[in-house]
Symmetry: C2
Subunit: 415 residues, 2 copies
Amino acid sequence: MLAEIITIGDEILIGQIVDTNSAWIATKLNENGVRIKQITSVSDEKEHILEALHAAAKRADLIIITGGLGPTNDDITKKTLAGYFNVGFKRDEGALEDVKRIFAANNRPLIAINEQQADVPENCIVLRNKNGTAPGMWFEDQSKIYVSLPGVPFEMMYLIEEEVIPRVNAFFQLSAIVHHTILTAGLGESFLAEAIAPIENKLPAHIKLAYLPKLGQVRLRLSAYGGNKDLLKAEVQQFVDEIVALIPEYVVISEDKPLEKAVLDILSEKNLKLSVAESCTGGYLSHLFTQHSGSSAVFLGGAVTYSNELKEKMLGVKTETLAKFGAVSEETVIEMAQGAVHNFASDYAIAISGIAGPHGGTDDKPVGTVWVAVSGKSKTITQKYKFPGRRVQNIERAAINSIILLLKLVREEYA
Amino acid sequence: MLAEIITIGDEILIGQIVDTNSAWIATKLNENGVRIKQITSVSDEKEHILEALHAAAKRADLIIITGGLGPTNDDITKKTLAGYFNVGFKRDEGALEDVKRIFAANNRPLIAINEQQADVPENCIVLRNKNGTAPGMWFEDQSKIYVSLPGVPFEMMYLIEEEVIPRVNAFFQLSAIVHHTILTAGLGESFLAEAIAPIENKLPAHIKLAYLPKLGQVRLRLSAYGGNKDLLKAEVQQFVDEIVALIPEYVVISEDKPLEKAVLDILSEKNLKLSVAESCTGGYLSHLFTQHSGSSAVFLGGAVTYSNELKEKMLGVKTETLAKFGAVSEETVIEMAQGAVHNFASDYAIAISGIAGPHGGTDDKPVGTVWVAVSGKSKTITQKYKFPGRRVQNIERAAINSIILLLKLVREEYA
């Protein structure tokens, strides 16, 4: 079964916001056996929205529309949908109740345009929104389902999980989809392809292999379609095992989870604690870990030491080390990592210092130069990197590579 | 002049990656007076890509295509474009040079499928890629321009800035676009709309107003199209001033920059230093600041204290305070903020402690409860929040609101 996502709103088209909703919806639908055929972002213009609806309806059976449901003049999704289905409006008592409840909870008076939030096209079933004033809407038309949801992420997420997925499962006969991703590092896309060609060439037609290069790593994604989900999973796992067996030295994580989550899980199993000492990554590494629920079982915290003074004060880096070798040096990151293990009483610590750019580079240490140290049970290991990117990409690459280095030492020390 | 962006790759459609490229490209094109009509994400399937190309060519004059240029079997953009234009392939010597250079720099042998990276459709002009092996391609066909770029962000970014934007400016007669965003807090979308209706109602047809609610704030975006860019800017600025004058108490930042960047600039002007003490935001607040180049002039660093032990050790929070009031309390965040100012020798410090969720909530302190303290020249101010979202949204809201609280104290102390 195919679905499409249409996001409505000029803010995406002018680049003011990144469309994170679509990836989230795609993940949820995929988990439930729905393939996304296309994601389309269109402007707040009636004719353009209508064109996108007609085009999507030709390709897909389920069309999820987000955005454009606010009370203000620039929000025209509801009017446009009523026009598309050629129906009038009705006031929905449930939706009106939700609007009133939210205004009452915030001690705000209700004004007319807020009440209009409860007016919906006649042919829809209202999906009640507990977290906001714009109701979700479910339309059935010529055997196709259209769902209109608010663009505010947590309102949309709640409605997808609580209302849309159960109804989609009930309405359609869904076939299974299984994805599995292997994270590799150290081998370029074309070499990987050569190395695993024997497996790629024998994949059955219902299993696809994709190469996803990102920030210096390549993820291999196997996607299997159709039939029984458990059998598909077992089939995919067999190919995963064969790939790992062919290139064991390049496989970072063969489980299908984010790298930092995999590392947290490994440390948690062994009851090991982690702290960090971040300079150029400026909190991003900590954020990678702490975005995951349960990270507090492993991650104690750490120091974001942008200034040299704080490197000395919080981590015990010696003034002489900074003076002699500079903040971006092997000597400094070693002291940072060892200082973190000592001061924060953790089993492992990651330290990162580098030049994220765009300024601060020298001939000797150009922008993108990053030193990482990982301190563990028996020793401290280091690695120097030279990343080619811009500031934010350099920060991301430094963080990801430091986690790979941590994983290496943990595996060595707890084989 | 209208453009469309087509991103190719199953990884977006299954939700494995968020499409950040499109927002970046949209921003750059907008700055140069190109409006994006639609952003379309399609799968790695020839027929689907062709359909998207034909549809985009009906609406737009410039079509930017990203992704699907790797050397492996799942990458079919080049073949599909050759089919679309009905042309054969040529080997491009410049592109081959780039491939060879990159392999030589990495000390890797060149294999046949890498050389094929230099094979391009006959009718294209190669945009040489200094950072990767897939060349960019520029096609002119029936007065429309098609540009195909690698999906790897920093390769794409380089090509857009160095190759695509200059060529687009030379090829098209571009009309000006000016956007200006005002960040507001404390007033819901519908009340804002009521409050500024007198201005919205008198906006000329070439200036549009949009309401963008996000994480508890509402951004107001004015977009003006056509004519002379400087005149447009002046015209937009006049409406910005009128809006600010109508609702001064709700305007956080009337300059068109990210909140944290605006705060960094204010502190930098006054030569004030900032540190942070983060618990539930786990490094995200530090990352918000340090993602910006030049942040080191203001941001000294800080402590990510996930554990109570580190709150005591790094920030000097008293054991009794934690025992009596808990880690998520006004008393604790006050000591965290004051400890940061003292230990890290900053003028201002933000402290955040809360329950990001999904676990750890109690009847008394449910998930989403967050305490923030800001310590400054003359005093420490605090604020309690109850956010309705999920973990990552709660982290984002806590960080953003803590910056608004900082701004409030800075403005009060340095009026």
